[in-house]
Symmetry: C2
């Protein structure tokens, strides 16, 4: 029996719907995709893409209509992407879907629309009142993020032992028995205090989590610019970065097309493509489906 | 006529001298290396390495003697590494050498020894009273650093238009006619202010430098986790990172063994290996010579 996977369509002015339609045949072999979009919007997108809608395509209708404008920042499109997403989440909660795979939304458009969330993960955290953990990667390496969409200047004050420990506990529950390489915050992981001292908090949190789980599964703080070197990567598959670009710049340098985004520590399974709305190539038949297909596969793997 | 290249030996408790001796024959084909070390210390290192000193090896003697202890943090070794370095710099200033290639020093050991510099680049900046620019990379990509050995919390306040502009002017003088991809500071380069606003300073500095040089050579602010993706790298060879790990984590993920370190904006040519003292493998015949040989080649290329 194939699993039902809700697909939220993302910002319809971006590449999401093109990828979904392009990959439909392949994805249908893996699962039963349920697209969270109404007929009117789907037809409009297909017309823009100059493509036909496959006959067996199943939708779960999401109200709303507006004119799709390829690559345009729009609050209407933002609101629709949010509604499609929450619709998919509800399908999971009601057991009509087993998991949700999300297409990219545009954060700037969400802000324009007055949506108070910084992205999918933030919205899930608030909806479920649980701290969702954002993890990106592919089968070669995964990077979880301790802080996500946080301005860089606001990151150092968040490096505190108790907060780290509570995050480590959640991460360990989501990835039991996995070794985690925990990065330092500062260049050279602070060089023993010469270049910053937040590593003391990280060290203490690592000691405590390892003691509490009775096993040394958390390692670090690792020197950030050494963590992703080929030799170091041989020993670890899971990394914990202290902030967004510390983890994602190396990940995307190495595995851009194939990476996906997973939300851990939630009551539902959610995976996502690891790219944005790519407004510059929307509706130009240029979008790559690999990350989406990997996201579907990962969702199935997690079920 | 082959160029004379001063080689500072770095921290003698680390891997530098092993690499220098191991690569001597190959490096001698490219240039005349002049090793900044005295006979006593060289003999001691060779004994530890269980190797013979090549007959044609030329030294320029640096006073001092202490017992080499593989992998040990030591203020004696720190002081000797500093003296070897400054000796090589003087050889360049006196035209006895055309350039200097430096082996790694240990920053923690320098601090232990009361040496007030954060590393070679910082010492050169203070010695020449010119702001040395640290650039790392290989022929596939180079990353210059706007801030270097700075605790992360101290980076955001340094992102100011006038300071950036003066850095851009120096960088442009060192790399005339080269396109530079300038990274943003925040996740998604701030997402138009949603995730931090330092990108406004970067944008304004870019506008001003391009206007003053009469050509669009500086591009950005680039989204940091997109800058090093394979597609983006096709268009740029030179990147400017706002801080140490933003540039070096992706660089080392991609090109760890072959990368080197170049000091720009100085009266002398200085290149260096792109790794540390690697105390854990010192005197174990495990060190890789590729970065060193590339550093020698780059120094010759810059002459």
């Amino acid at each position: 029996m194939k699993h039902n996977i809700a697909i939220s369509v993302g910002d319809l002015n971006g590449v999401g719907i093109e990828i979904a339609l392009k990959a439909h045949t392949e994805v249908s072999k893996l699962c039963n995709p349920i697209y969270c979009i109404n007929k009117y919007m789907l037809n409009q997108a297909a017309t823009h893409l100059n493509t036909n809608i496959p006959k067996n395509l199943k939708i779960s209708s999401v109200d709303g209509n507006f004119d799709i404008k390829a690559g345009a920042l729009s609050s209407e499109s933002a609101n629709y992407s949010f509604d499609s997403f929450m619709h998919g989440v509800c399908l999971c909660k009601n057991k009509q879907a087993d998991a949700i795979v999300t297409m990219p939304i545009n954060k700037e458009a969400w802000m324009l629309a007055g949506l108070e969330y910084k992205g999918h993960t933030d919205a899930l955290t608030k909806h479920f009142k649980k701290d969702a953990i954002m993890m990106l990667g592919c089968d070669k390496m995964f990077v979880a993020l301790y802080t996500e969409h946080t301005a860089l200047k606001n990151v150092p004050p968040l490096i505190k032992k108790d907060k780290l420990l509570s995050f480590f506990i959640d991460l360990n529950k989501s990835l039991p028995n996995e070794k985690i390489a925990v990065l330092g915050l500062n260049p050279h992981a602070g060089d023993n205090g010469v270049l910053g001292d937040e590593e003391i908090e990280i060290t203490n949190a690592i000691k405590e989590i390892n003691k509490s789980i009775g096993e040394d599964l958390f390692f670090g703080p690792i020197v950030p610019d050494i963590a992703f070197t080929p030799n170091f990567r041989k020993n670890y598959k899971y990394f914990l970065a202290m902030y967004h670009d510390q983890g994602l710049a190396p990940l995307k340098a190495l595995y851009f097309d194939e990476s996906i985004n997973i939300s851990l520590n939630l009551p539902i399974v959610r995976t996502s493509v690891d790219h944005g709305t790519a407004f510059d190539i929307a509706y130009k038949n240029k979008a790559n489906t690999l990350s989406y297909i990997n996201a579907v596969k990962s969702a199935l793997f997690l079920l």
